[in-house]
């Protein structure tokens, strides 16, 4: 008979690294997709009338007011029941990206709206057309203003990606849970996981605060 509990060993390095890579992959994917979608939706919301705004607003509201863990289970069960089963990575990426989009769009919208109308009028009077105004004035100025908030959302996505474990994606936390089951050494493994997240997140969040301070002055 095989033994049930075996201590952590160097053989587990590859296994842990796969978990780390999976966490990084799904986070980067969700941040990139969430940013692109958020930019589009945020722009549409800043531009459009009340009705369109309300429609988008309602949808985004749902994404922001239901816990991610529930969204993940619901979505992955729902697509399956509808006959299009997705593997945990795809389902997780879609949900995490939309969730990211919901927060990003608000960030970008406030950025676009922060550019004073007088500045746009000035640009138009210099002979720029509508799109030139957007491209040369509103985008660069609006985006610069929201960089720290963007970074904040991106960081929370890295941390929230841990939840994709509930639908079976083998990211870092699920990997470590499996190791805890096998080794019965929760403390060592959990501390390792905590340090990993901290190492990724801390420099970025410090940088974000540095930029914020610089911009405030």
């Amino acid at each position: 008979m095989n033994s049930l509990f075996t201590p952590l060993s160097w053989n587990d390095t590859g296994f842990i690294l796969t978990g780390v890579m999976n966490t990084v992959t799904i986070s980067v994917l969700a941040i990139v997709l969430g940013t692109v979608l958020g930019l589009i939706v945020g722009f549409i919301r800043a531009e459009s009338n009340k009705l369109v705004n309300m429609l988008f607003g309602g949808l985004l509201d749902v994404l922001r007011s239901v816990p991610l863990i529930i969204q993940l289970v619901l979505f992955s069960t729902f697509v399956g029941a509808a006959g299009i089963p997705l593997d945990p990575f795809v389902a997780g990426s879609i949900v995490l990206s939309l969730y990211t989009m919901a927060f990003m769009s608000e960030v970008f919208r406030s950025g676009f709206e922060s550019v004073p109308v007088s500045m746009q009028t000035a640009a138009r009077s210099l002979g720029m057309n509508h799109w030139q105004t957007i491209y040369h004035i509103r985008l660069p100025i609006g985006l610069r203003a929201v960089f720290p908030s963007w970074l904040g959302v991106a960081l929370s996505v890295i941390k929230d990606s841990a939840l994709v474990s509930v639908i079976g994606y083998m990211e870092l936390l699920r990997t470590s849970e499996q190791l805890i089951s096998r080794t019965q050494q929760p403390l060592e493994i959990l501390i390792g996981v905590g340090i990993f997240y901290f190492i990724i997140s801390y420099p970025l969040s410090s940088y974000g605060r540095y930029v914020e301070r610089k911009m405030a002055i």
Partner: protein
């Protein structure tokens, strides 16, 4: 779509779900209140120049902000368990949420306090107010206005994050949903109802918060 919905199973279990929702609300409110108290202390410690307090506060804030909530909850439950400290699932989730709330609110409070120019303090003093009056009538009202919104967001966040109680077997809304769906295998139905309940709870919180803010700040927010 070939799925047949069986809603009556869910309606039969409504009392249990509502009870779960109550636990969710309960733990998040408590986590918010305790978080605020600790955050005030940490903010004072951070703004103070006495080194040891400042270090503790900084370590707390950075750990809370830079690691996942899921990790904090595991740590409170099984991590502390390795030291022989046994928290119930409820207390483990509560302490993790308090830990994180305090970490985020500390920065909110500090930012709010620092955003009020110190000249206002001297000005009020020169008008003959004493320190308590300055804080009561000048500093705190302005500060509250600035931190009100981030605080509401933090509260909504803790309601949503309390759903992680599912992972340590806590009987809040998500945990109850998970148990009920395991027994009847009606996954979609139970999770849809849970999603709707979370939506209603957060909406109610946001609406009451904006009503309260109108009363507090007379529309000047």
């Amino acid at each position: 779509m070939t799925y047949e919905f069986h809603w009556n199973v869910v309606f039969q279990k409504m009392p249990e779900l509502l009870n779960g929702a109550f636990v969710t609300l309960h733990v998040s409110v408590l986590a918010m209140l305790l978080g605020i108290v600790i955050a005030i202390l940490l903010a004072i410690a951070k703004m103070n120049n006495s080194k040891p307090f400042c270090y503790v506060a900084t370590a707390w804030v950075e750990t809370a902000r830079n690691t996942p909530a899921l990790f904090q909850i595991y740590m409170a439950y099984f991590g502390l368990g390795a030291f022989g400290i046994h928290l119930s699932p409820y207390v483990a989730v509560l302490s993790a949420l308090v830990f994180i709330n305090a970490g985020y609110l500390t920065e909110t409070f500090r930012g709010g306090f620092q955003s009020i120019p110190s000249t206002q303090y001297s000005a009020s003093k020169s008008l003959g107010m004493n320190s308590i009056q300055v804080y009561r009538y000048i500093i705190l009202p302005q500060m509250l206005r600035r931190i009100y919104h981030p605080m509401t967001n933090q509260f909504v966040w803790s309601i949503l994050m309390s759903s992680l109680g599912i992972l340590v077997g806590m009987s809040e809304l998500s945990g109850t949903t998970q148990r009920l769906q395991s027994l009847s295998f009606r996954t979609l139905e139970f999770f849809i109802v849970a999603a709707v309940m979370y939506f209603i709870i957060t909406k109610l919180v946001l609406i009451s918060s904006s009503l309260l803010s109108r009363k507090l700040f007379r529309g000047e927010i």
